[in-house]
Each structure stands twice: as C-alpha cells, then as structure tokens.
C-alpha cells in the first residue's frame, strides 16, 4: 500500500453537484458527497429519496445529467486526451468501473452457473486470472461467507440469504476498492438477514474496503457505519456520525423519519 500518504487527502469517491432526472422528476438534486478511503458510509432515508440512484450512478448503471463523479480523482464520464477533456470511451469507463463492486437487492446471481462458476467467471474473463488462481480466490471468499459447502450448487437451490452471501463473494472476487451495497437485506426473510449482516460486519472489520451502503436496517447502520447520510428529496438533508444522526438529529425531516422507522420496529 504505497498510496497511504494520500488517504487523508483525496476522497476515493466524490460527487460534485450531481443531478439526475427522470423526465420532470428530479431524483438527485446537485448532490455533493465525498467518501474517504476505507470509510463505511450508510445512506438512509425514505423511498424515492434517490439513495439507490447514488449507487447505480457510481456503478455506471445510470447516466449523469449534470455534475461530475470522481473515482480516485478521475472523472467518471470524461478522460484526458492530449490535455483536453473528452467524453470517456468504453475502455476508460471499464477501467474505472473495475474499482467498484456492487451487491444488489435481488442478488442477481447467474442462474445457469454454479456458485463457484458465478465467482470465477469475471476474474478469469475480465481480470485474466488463470482458472486455478480464480478458483483458489473464490474458494477463499466462499469460505469467508460460509458458502464453501454449496460451491457446486446452482443458485435456485439456495435460500435468499445464501444467494446474497454468494453475491458478496462474487463481487469481492474482483478485488474492488469500493463496495456498493444496495439494500442487500430488503429481499430477505427476517430469519436470514442476520447471516448476511454478519458477513458485512466481518468485511468491515477485517478488510480494507470502502463501503457505501443503502439500507433500511437502522440498528445495523448505526452499529457499523463511520458516517450516516440521511437523504431527502434528492439531497443529503443531514449527515454525521451514527450517534449524531440517531441520538441528536438536528433536521426536522431526519427526526420524523427516524421516529417513524424506529416506532415501526
């Protein structure tokens, strides 16, 4: 790790005045957000507040209407060529994308492949690993998420919690610098949420990984996050340490949201 000296200086992810619209609907409204290396940031807020869009834009699944997103100091949509900024080509975008990994609400495993195949497909074909290297890496990660005994099963034979743990291993196998977790427990039965959360907890404590997590699990966000951002109508209405947000929220919207959510539980 020779870029430790930059750790404090340069945010690994930076949103600068980013706007996203669907027709007349403004989903993100001039969003500014910086995430430091190895920081664990949770995004909370009512549905429709643009939380998931933040992750999807970072993963290049959505286009940017205005503003700039920087990954490790490089703009996501433009590249430098002979001193000029020009629209990025696929190769450049793909090189930036390789810093980012994403775990989806609906797992999105490849149903026609076994658990192991799911985890080695991209490392072999994108990173160019030999198949024995990719398998060793996958087996290591599947062990970490506790899914090694199911490595030859197809996803359809696994529970939601198990599929999600495989999806986490699959994303980690690409060694991303930033991990995006998009409501990873929202599609799960209550009794298996715990197993997925404990994997994320482990990731957070044992690996140097920057994580950006959209979640409805308030207790979990409070427990693991370095910072919590409360989104409201496409903006960060309030952000701070978990204690600040959950104990002494200042914004009226945050108070309303938290009391509604916490009372429901």
């Amino acid at each position: 790790m020779n870029d430790i000296e930059n750790t404090e200086e340069k945010p690994i992810v930076k949103f600068e005045e980013v706007t996203k619209r669907y027709g007349d609907l403004i989903v993100l409204d001039k969003l500014n957000l910086e995430i430091k290396k190895n920081e664990m940031v949770s995004i909370i807020g009512p549905s429709g507040s643009g939380k998931t869009t933040v992750l999807r834009m970072l993963m290049t699944l959505e286009t940017i209407d205005e503003g700039v997103i920087y990954i490790d100091g490089k703009p996501l949509t433009h590249m430098r060529s002979k001193g000029n900024l020009i629209p990025a080509d696929e190769k450049y975008i793909s090189s930036l994308r390789s810093d980012i990994g994403m775990v989806f609400q609906q797992f999105n495993l490849f149903p026609h492949m076994t658990v192991l195949q799911n985890c080695i497909e991209a490392p072999i074909n994108v990173l160019g690993l030999r198949s024995d290297e990719a398998e060793a890496r996958a087996i290591d990660l599947l062990g970490m998420v506790g899914m090694l005994d199911k490595k030859d099963e197809h996803p359809s034979r696994l529970s939601g919690g198990q599929q999600q743990r495989v999806a986490i291993a699959r994303a980690l196998a690409m060694r991303p610098k930033v991990m995006l977790l998009d409501e990873v427990t929202s599609a799960l039965d209550p009794e298996v949420i715990g197993e997925v959360l404990s994997v994320i907890r482990k990731l957070n404590s044992e690996h140097n990984l920057t994580m950006l997590m959209v979640t409805h699990q308030m207790g979990f966000a409070r427990e693991v996050s370095d910072r919590v951002c409360f989104f409201y109508e496409g903006k960060i209405a309030e952000q701070g340490t978990p204690n600040q947000i959950f104990e002494t929220p200042k914004n009226e919207r945050t108070k309303q949201f938290l009391s509604a959510v916490l009372n429901a539980n």
Partner: protein, 223 residues
C-alpha cells in the same frame, strides 16, 4: 381405385431418395435461418437507429409476404435482373431468409425474457459485451427460445414441398413425377404424407427431450 402394395414397394426407393433431399433442404435451410436470425436479432438490438430501422423493415417484409411468392421472386424474377440462382440455391436462400426472420423474433423474445438485472450484474462485474451475450444472456435465453425454434424446425420441414414448384427434386416432386408417369396418385401421395409423419413426429419428440435436457443442465428445473 384400390391400394396396390406391389406398386407402393416399387416406388418406395424413389420416394425415399426424395425424402433424403427433403431432409437436406430442411436441415441446411434451417441452419442458415438460425444464423441469419441471429444477425437480424442483433441488427434490431443495435444502438444505431438507422440499422435498427432497416433491420426491422426487412424482417417485417419477409414475415408479411408468403414464402411461395418469395421463392418465385428469387427464382423467376431475379434472373431478369441478371441475378441467377440454381433451383437449389434459390430454395436455400429464400428459406434461410424467410425462417431467419421468424427465428429473429423468437430470439428477441427470449432475450427480452432474461431479467434486465442480469445485464446489470454483468456490467457491475465489468464483463465485455461479447462475454455478456455469450456466457450470460444467450445461455439463459436458450431454454426460452427452444420451443419456438423447434416449432419452426417442424414448420420448415413441412414447407419443403413448396420447393417442388421451382423444380427442386425433393419428396413432393418425386411423388409428382411418379403420378404423372403412371397416373396412379393414391400410393405416392399417401406415402408422402406418411413419410412426413415419420420425419416430423420423432423430430418433435426429440425437441421436447432437448428442451428438458437443456433446462436441467442449467439448473433451471422445469418441474
């Protein structure tokens, strides 16, 4: 007019020989259609508006006009503009194009049946567009496409008698020849029908087996 077994056996070799050509015509025509269909499908999925539009119109044109008319056009009209085909080549080209447009629609439907989240997962893993199609999307679309593809295989087999109209010597044409030489029609045409049944029924059965085999192999159980 009574059925004559001795006559039936006498003409059997000739009809079976015709049947071999029927199978060849259907087989080669279908293979062409499978590839032409892929090209049409990709044309319809490109981001380029012009290419997209052209492919759509071409597909619509071939789907909306009868195979027989297309066959006559390629075999009788095209030579008047200096483009000459043998009967066999004209037959293969026309059947490949005609069924290719049908198959492109089958492919399109099958690909659209793959959830869009699968595309997103591919993107998040940085897979190239070729890998995305080849390793993730097409394998999942295949079980969806197979029933439709099978229908058109049986369809193309049953359409081969049309090739007799431009003089391709296949099963139907062999029966026509027998009929016009002997003035006996009962045996040849009955036998043509029976031979088609003997070809089509096992084909349909084999296709169903293939469908369930593919689904099983992919771990997407059908039961």
């Amino acid at each position: 007019m009574a059925w004559r077994w001795d006559f039936a056996f006498e003409i059997l070799p000739q009809l079976l020989w015709g049947a071999v050509y029927t199978l060849m015509a259907a087989g080669i025509g279908y293979l062409l259609a499978v590839f032409i269909g892929l090209i049409f499908m990709m044309g319809q999925r490109t981001p380029s508006y012009v290419l997209n539009r052209i492919t759509r119109e071409v597909v619509e044109f071939f789907r909306s006009t009868p195979l027989l008319v297309q066959l006559f056009f390629v075999f009788y009209v095209a030579p008047q503009f200096g483009i000459k085909f043998s009967a066999w080549n004209a037959a293969m080209l026309t059947m490949g194009l005609h069924y290719g447009t049908y198959l492109s629609e089958v492919y399109r439907g099958a690909i659209e049946a793959v959830p869009k989240q699968q595309w997103e997962a591919c993107k998040a893993l940085n897979l190239s567009i070729f890998r995305t199609y080849g390793r993730i999307i097409l394998p999942q679309a295949l079980p969806v496409a197979l029933p439709g593809m099978g229908n058109y295989l049986v369809g193309i087999i049953k359409d081969t008698p049309m090739l007799a109209t431009i003089g391709v010597v296949e099963l139907m044409q062999s029966a026509n020849t027998v009929g016009s030489l002997t003035y006996r029609f009962l045996e040849p045409y009955t036998m043509v029908g029976v031979i088609f049944l003997i070809i089509s029924l096992p084909t349909a059965f084999g296709l169903r087996k293939l469908e369930s085999m593919v689904s099983r192999r992919q771990g997407i159980s059908k039961q």
